[in-house]
């Protein structure tokens, strides 16, 4: 699943480490999420959306729907 995490993070001017600390996950998890290698649990997806104050659909892109 693709996502806009990196763009959202960079727009806020925060580092991976800072985002990881705020979401209480490892920095590697943020890196894997941004590279699209790892799909988060629904709980983490909600946490990310809440952190950036956007909806889950604004962060994660459903590739089936975008076809």
């Amino acid at each position: 699943m693709k996502n806009r995490l990196e763009a959202l993070r960079k727009a806020r001017g925060i580092k991976q480490e800072e985002l990881a600390a705020a979401l209480e996950v490892s920095r590697q998890t943020i890196g894997s999420l941004e590279n699209g290698r790892y799909n988060p649990s629904i709980l983490l997806a909600f946490k990310i959306a809440r952190y950036f104050d956007v909806s889950i659909e604004d962060v994660f892109i459903d590739e089936e729907e975008s076809k």
């Binding site: 600390a21 209480e24 996950v25 490892s26 790892y38 709980l43």
Partner: protein, 142 residues
Amino acid sequence: MKKRNALLLAAAGLLLIAAGFLLLRTSIFPVDNLPALPYLLIGVGCGVFGHGAGAWISRQALKNAPEIQKQIEIDQRDERNVQIANRAKGKAYDAMIYIFGALMVSFALMNADLFVILSLVAAYLCVVGISVYYRVKFDKEM
């Protein structure tokens, strides 16, 4: 691990080591029927002591470093790390099934003692049984 538990574990390990040496060096409790018992006690004692002492030392080392402690907790609870550990365990289980199978066949072909082969078969079936049990349990829970 709590400080008290870590220290108790280390103390239990030391006691086991002492008991092992006592059996080995004295004849207060003759162990002619179980010649390996003292060595077994020393071995298990070293393991238990190492586990307890390690937990205590790591606890002491992290006492004055709350940031590192917090990072360790985050890394332990991190959902990706948990998923990776579980996937690795799953792969290891799949490999173990084949390795155990090959070992049983090898032992049977070598005409090993029947008790050894049957013990291996029992252990193999026990592991498979535990796997089936948890599959059914999680199927009901999820």
